[in-house]
Amino acid sequence: MSENIYKPYLMKVAEVRDETPDIKTLKLEFQNPAEGETFSFKAGQFGLYSAFGAGESTFCIASAPTRKGYIECTFRVAGRVTSQLRDVNPGDTIGFRGPYGNTFPIEEKFFGKSITFVAGGIALPPVRCVIWNVLDLRDKFKDINIVYGAKTYQDLVYKDELQQWQDAKDINLIKTLDPGGDKAEYGCNNWDGKMGFVPTVLKESGINGKGGIAVLCGPPIMIKLSLPVLVELGFAKEDIYTTLENKMKCGLGKCGRCNVGSFYVCKHGPVLTAADLATMPDEF
């Protein structure tokens, strides 16, 4: 019998965390421990998570490959599948197919360099995977900068981890809220970060990009506005990495919807550099 490429692993929900009113994180363990032992992935890869009865949705793996035995995903509740995933409890079973796609070349290109992470809103999860991967191997890198922004205080994800990064002496965390995002109605009390959009805050960050690596992830408009700022800070286009997101159904290069020109996000991506991005048609 031929192998069914659409067959998911069965995953046990180990932990459910509320990030924001409409964003959740699930910690998942393999129901069959033998599958968990042979499973491996690298930073940047993604998978299809299924709520049985509702369907599948595509999210990145938000946990780091350096942390074995489980994976995590963080998602915004938007439709049928994510609504059902919102309602799972520890002990419930969901499906996972993956890992798919290419990876950040951490060992090959990032080792020995300063790394600057730039993320906006719900785009922190794919970057968080790389952040923990890098932090778990901290002595392999020079400076670590993290620039993270969200619309409002309420929209910041991983608030506990932001605090950990802020407290760490060897990490430069710059967090920001869009103008007006620090109001009490968003649960904000004595905001100690910046106020302003990510590209602006990035510009004023004083980060020296020369010889460094940047990892940028966010909504398309944030990417488009942040790219020139990163170049201005001294990063080479070949050293600015991002992950593209497009709607996907299969993750395997078959269903035909995630392509940007001949570039299939699910197979040739999702990780690519600003230099790659510049060669692609403007259709993402």
């Binding site: 019998m1 031929s2 192998e3 069914n4 490429i5 659409y6 067959k7 998911p8 069965l10 129901q31 299924s50 049985f52 009865g53 509702a54 369907g55 599948e56 915004r76 938007a78 439709g79 994510t82 079973t93 499906g95 909504p219 398309p220 997101e245 497009n246 709607k247 159904k249 299969c250 395997l252 290069g253 078959k254 269903c255 035909g256 919807r257 392509n259 940007v260 020109g261 001949s262 197979k267 048609p281 403007d282 259709e283 993402f284």
Partner: protein
């Protein structure tokens, strides 16, 4: 192998006999005055007097709705169940453009990850093709290097020698074995009907230069011409459903409280929801962007990936289009712009 002949009565008997066994048989059937290639049973009347079926042969191998996973949910959790192996298929009644499309499609489904739903079924299919006796203004197989008597993708090609009979040509070893296994249905020779008329390659004019299309698309992604070429499209997606090489699909769950099926379903790049993100951002928001994707995918991206154009010139998309879009006209325009160096 000596030249063998089969006539309508014998072929009908043969297909009906096979349909009575474990093999699925697909053949042309008349439904409301139109011909469709569809799964038949032992007594389904087979329709022979048609020019080209409305649907393509793809649905025999790539069904419009196909379970890819079964599951049960009970107190103990979720249990996955296997989908039974594919049954062998005899696929009769496509033309050479249909058979060629199978060769195009298998490249995608075998790319890197092997989609065994497609590939196993494809490998278990005997393709019996009807060489063309007719064509219309929308046919353009010759523009793509194919022929109304072409053999690509077929196991057996049937060439008409009269209104009622064909000369059977085995193209592959599997086709040869099929004829040998069923040799009682074939006759050694028959008198060709001298008055019977068929067509040759030269009857279908070469409308455009296929090699000029991809470079033009690469150079002119932002050309205003796209909006002119596609202005009539209303995104109904009929073109993609009748197309033998359109392969895009959706995956959805079809479930009750305690059990369910995960299914692969035909989808269409011409529909706005196809690429709509959860954030409501849509990289292909406008009609022209979606139709550009359809043409560029077939004539540029697919060629980059698999070295073959994902179109075989059957013309079905033009015949079915309610808005009057015509792919041959579009490709002819692109090819002539490319020749003139225009944008």
């Amino acid at each position: 192998m000596a030249e063998l002949i089969i006539n309508r009565d014998k072929l009908t008997q043969l297909l009906h006999e096979i349909a009575g066994g474990e093999t699925e048989v697909f053949a042309p059937v008349l439904k409301e005055e139109a011909t469709y290639i569809t799964k038949i049973s032992q007594d389904t009347p087979i329709h022979y007097d048609f020019f080209i079926s409305v649907n393509s042969v793809k649905e025999a191998i790539f069904p419009r709705y196909e379970p890819i996973l079964k599951y049960k949910i009970d107190q103990e959790g979720v249990k996955l169940e296997d989908i039974p192996p594919m049954k062998p298929i005899v696929l009769f009644g496509g033309h050479p453009c249909d058979a060629a499309s199978l060769m195009v499609m298998e490249k995608l489904f075998g790319w890197d990850y092997n989609d065994h739903f497609y590939q196993d079924r494809r490998n278990k299919t005997i393709v019996i093709t009807l060489a063309c006796n007719e064509f219309d203004k929308d046919c353009f197989c010759t523009s793509l290097g194919y022929s109304p008597h072409g053999e690509v993708g077929s196991d057996i090609v049937l060439e008409s020698i009269s209104k009622e009979a064909w000369k059977a040509k085995a193209v592959t070893d599997r086709g040869k074995e099929f004829i040998e296994k069923h040799n009682t249905y074939f006759a050694a020779s028959d008198k060709p009907d001298a008055s019977f008329k068929t067509i040759g390659d030269k009857d279908i004019p070469v409308g455009f230069d296929k090699d000029a299309v991809k470079p033009w698309i690469k150079e002119n992604f932002e050309s205003e011409e796209w909006q002119k070429l596609t202005s009539k499209c209303w995104s109904c997606a009929a073109c993609t459903y009748v197309c033998p090489t359109c392969h895009c699909f959706d995956i959805t769950d079809d479930a009750s409280m305690w059990s369910g099926l995960r299914t692969k379903n035909w989808d269409a790049c011409t529909m706005p929801i196809f690429t709509l993100h959860a954030s409501q951002h849509n990289p292909r928001e406008a009609y022209y962007q979606r139709y550009r994707q359809r043409i560029a995918h077939k004539y540029s991206y697919y060629v980059d990936l698999f070295k073959v154009i994902s179109c075989t010139g059957c013309g079905r998309c033009s015949r079915v289009c309610g808005a009057g879009m015509n792919i041959l006209e579009i490709l002819t325009r692109i090819s002539s712009l490319a020749k003139k160096g225009g944008k």
